[in-house]
Every structure is written in C-alpha cells, then in structure tokens.
Amino acid sequence: MAATLPVIDDPRVPQVELASFDQLWFQVAGTLCNLTCHHCFISCSPKNDSFGFLSLDEVQQRLAESVPLGVNEYYFTGGEPFLNPQMVEILIATLEYGPATVLTNATVLKDEWLQRLADADAASRFSLEFRVSIDGFSPETNDPIRGEGTFARALRGIVKLVEYDFLPIITAARSWPEADEARVVGEFTEMLRREGYRRPRLKILPMLHLGAEVERTHGYRPSERITAEMMKGFDRSQLICDHARIVTDRGVCVCPILIEAPDAVLGQSLAEADRPFGLSHGACYTCYQYGAICSNPSAASGGGHAARPT
C-alpha cells in the first residue's frame, strides 16, 4: 500500500512538517498531455498514463474533505488538465469552495468551455486563475523545447483567454541564461502586447532537473541536496511541502514536483498526508533556492525577515 511507504530514515535529511495546509493541488490529468516537452519534470506525454485522470466525484470528495482542514487555495495540474473531459465542471465546482488555479498549455481550449468558466467566475466570490506554460518569446526558442508549432498554438490560446478577460499568468521555465533575463522578459512582454495582451502577467520558474530535463541537460548533482545546516534560520514557508499537498489517483503526495518519487505518497486521505517529509531530493534543493516556485504570486508567503508575530 502506498500509505505504508517508508519516509527516508536518514537522520541527516531535514524533515519538514505540514505547518499549515493552505494549498490543495490536484494531479487532475495524471501524466497525460497532448505535448511532449523536452524539459517536463514528470515526462508527461500523450502515452504516459502512469498517473490517471481524477473524476469530478473524486475532486468533490476531496474538496469536502478539505473544509474542516481549513484549506485556502485549489490548484489543478497535469499533464494537460483540459484533456480531462470533466475539467470545466471540476473548476466550476471548486469555485463554490474557494479560489481555483489551473495550469494549462492553452493549446486545446474551446470557446464553449471558456464561456462557461467566465460565467462561473463572474458568479463566484473567488478568483479563477489560468496559468499558461510557454517557454520562449518566439517559435525559435519555444518550439525546440515544447514541440513544433506549439508556440503559435499556445499564443492563440492566450489570445482567447485574454478575449474572455481571464488575464492569464504566462509561466515560463528559465531556459535562458539568467544574465539575459531582463532582455528575454522584455521581448516576451512586448510580443504579448503586440498580440493584444495589454497588461501581461508573467511568472518565471527555475528549471527543474527532473524527468525529461535530465536528458535535455543534466540531473541534480549529489551536492545539490538540502542539509540540516542549510535549514538553520531558513524560513520553511518558502518550501511548498510546508503548506501544500497534492491529490493523485495513487493517493495524496507531498508536492506537485515529486509525485513520481518513491516516498512521495504520504497517505490516502488528506488527514493521513499530514506528516513530515524528508527533503532528500534534488528538486527540494531548487525549491529551497528559489522558494514558492509552484504558487501564484498573490499567494507569496513574503519571505524576508517578517516573522510570524508570535
């Protein structure tokens, strides 16, 4: 049983508790995606069904389960969430409970879906956020990573989302040298404006050296691990496992990045998944370095020196 998987029992590995269950993620499309990106950290593809879809019923059950735990935000990822035939209903149901965010490649969106979601958004007190993954400001930079023609298709999806006034957050994994960041981001923003997105919102992510990215560049080096020494004085709220869990069709896992890790499944219920996790993975090192890499900017936990008051 997944629930009996051992937590890595090395006393040198720092353990992080679920300090506050603020975010509930759903691996709503499993590992199925219409694209096969060369940097995907869980190697999603049209053929990878190692994780399956979550049904509307399953999501409803988890939403109800989350209420007594005081969960705040709900995030949906995959794979490509909109391959799940119940995705629109799932988002509409979620907006009854709280804010919803969906991470999409924007290449399969249909007007009928967006109209229904726009209506649900208008009727809800809560925000519905679209986050669109794209990896460059031109086909020349994007398509080698995400596949031939994907830049043009994603752009059409973004324009569609803008037409429905969703103000999507464009999320790009940093596939360029950090020194070029200002120029790359500037050109990207200009391109979005030319396409009619008057006030583009951007989120730049660090590259995760997992999954397909290991083949494209390299995996994590053994030295890229979190040590107990590094945790001294560190603000743990910068780590997503401090305040989130993710539901998959195999159980409740520690975070959206590590669902394939052997120790990732922490339980079958949300309450069971409230136990410490050992930061033994290379991806934990990236999360440590950059902080809040999966959350929306509006959910930033602040960081810096502003401590909890008591």
Binding site: L128, A300, A306
Partner: protein, 264 residues
C-alpha cells in the same frame, strides 16, 4: 486583556500620507469613537515620513507594527513587503530607501518598539488587531483568494472572534461561521485601484448581537500630496496613482479578480 471600548476607528497603511491622516482623524473626531488604531505601515510611498508621528501622538492613536515599521525601525535592507515581481520590487525599493533616509532616529525608535499584534476583549468577543494576518506580518490575505474555511481556521488558531488586518491596500470583510468575522480595514496611504482618489478607514462597532463594520471614505488634498511627492523626487508612477486612483506599481501581487478591476 484590556478593558475595552465599544466603537473603534481602524486604518492601516498610512504610507506617509499625512494629509489623508489629518482628514481621517478630523472625521473620526466628529463622529466620536472610543479608540483609534493604526494597523501598521506608517511610512512608505508618500513624502515627509516624519509628519505622521505628531498627528498620531496628538490623537492617541494606538499602533500595530507593520512590515515597513519593522524594517525602518531596525534599518533593514528592504521593506519586507513580500513582492515577487522584479518591477514591483524595484519601485518598492525606491520607496523604502527614501522613507528610511527621511525618518528620524526618534521615530525609528518608536517604530522599533511597536507590538506585532494587539488583543482586546469587547462584549465577550476576542478581537485581534494585526497587520497582514494573525500568523504573519507580511501575509497578503486577498478577498478573492481567501476561502471561508481558511479564514475560520486563521481565527480559530489565533483564538479570535474578530480579526482586523490590512497590508493588501484594499478593504473587505467576511462574515464567518459561529459569529466570527475577518475585516481588512483598508489603507489611508493610497487609493484602492478603482479610479477614485479618496482613501478609506473603518469603523467597527460592538454592541448587541452583531459587530457592525462601516467603511468610511476620506477625501483629502490629493493634488497637494502629489505635488509634494514630485518635489521630493518620488517616482512619477506614485504621483499618478495619487492623482488618478489607479495603481501603477505593486500590480503583480494582485489576484486576477482584484487586478481586473484596475486600469493597469
């Protein structure tokens, strides 16, 4: 626990807007309240940060320490506002450097000793006054990204029936289960990104079964404030916000519903 008044005036984020503070305090005096609270961030954004302190003292305003107050008081490197976007942080740093450089040592000492929270008990209700959230001074709790059950948990964990907070710059309130309530009291420092130039404070009245919350608009001489900001060399983007009522910076931290209401 403090023996408590029944009618409170509360505001957050003065952001050095001493003209709005003067106007708000005059309005508070006319209406009559039992106590006045500022939920932190006395300086930032506006001109002449030292000018708010005598007003607060003259009117017995009791203050909570915001992230800005902690930073200025302790002369930290940045404002701890919690932005994640480079442009937002660029403007935040301009504002912070100016504010720190123009806050006197005496006032820095005052900011340093402010409490991170204040607890009151009024008519058997436990009231918590804080800056961002009960658990974190610089946490953004937005109306459109806070579920009811999350707010109930915040109240429960903080042993509070009524939580009064600020930090986001936009007022809102939510009635919760078991008579609990979460109120963002708004800010005096800059308008709410709705194209109106006024700012807001909040009256909270205890008595009977209900806690009554009234958001009060404050008109002030915004043109003079913008002129003084220009004279002090503060960014044109900040002046524009004061003149138009639309935010021009700190935009990327907004959730989509709040962002959509603005112009930029």
């Amino acid at each position: 626990m403090t023996a408590a008044p029944t009618r409170l005036a509360c505001f957050g984020g003065i952001y050095s807007n001493y003209l709005a503070l003067e106007a708000a305090l005059a309005d508070v005096r006319r209406r009559g309240v039992d106590a006045v609270y500022c939920l932190g961030d006395l300086g930032a954004f506006g001109p002449h940060p030292d000018r708010v302190f005598p007003l607060l003292a003259d009117h017995d305003v009791v203050c909570v320490q915001g992230n800005y107050d902690d930073s200025v008081g302790n002369e930290l490197d940045d404002c701890q506002c919690g932005y994640v976007d480079p442009r937002d942080n660029h403007f935040a740093q301009i504002s912070y450097d100016y504010t720190l450089a123009n806050t006197s040592g005496e006032h820095r000492a005052y900011l340093r000793q402010l409490p991170a929270e204040i607890r009151l008990e009024i008519d058997d209700r436990r009231v918590l006054l804080c800056h961002g959230s009960p658990r974190r001074t610089n946490e953004f709790v937005w109306e459109s990204t806070a579920s009811d059950h999350f707010l109930e948990r915040l109240c429960r964990e903080a042993d509070a029936d009524v939580v009064l907070a600020t930090h986001t710059g936009i007022k809102w309130q939510r009635q919760l289960a078991e008579g609990r309530q979460f109120v963002n009291v708004g800010v005096l420092g800059r308008p709410e990104n709705d194209g109106r130039r006024n700012v807001w404070y909040t009256l909270v009245e205890f008595g009977g079964d209900q806690v009554q919350v009234e958001f009060v608009p404050v008109e002030y001489d915004f043109a003079r404030l913008a002129r003084e900001m220009a004279d002090e060399g503060l960014p044109a983007e900040f002046q524009e916000t004061i003149r138009t009522g639309w935010w021009t910076t700190c935009l990327e931290i907004l959730p989509v519903k709040e962002r959509r209401r603005g112009a930029f």
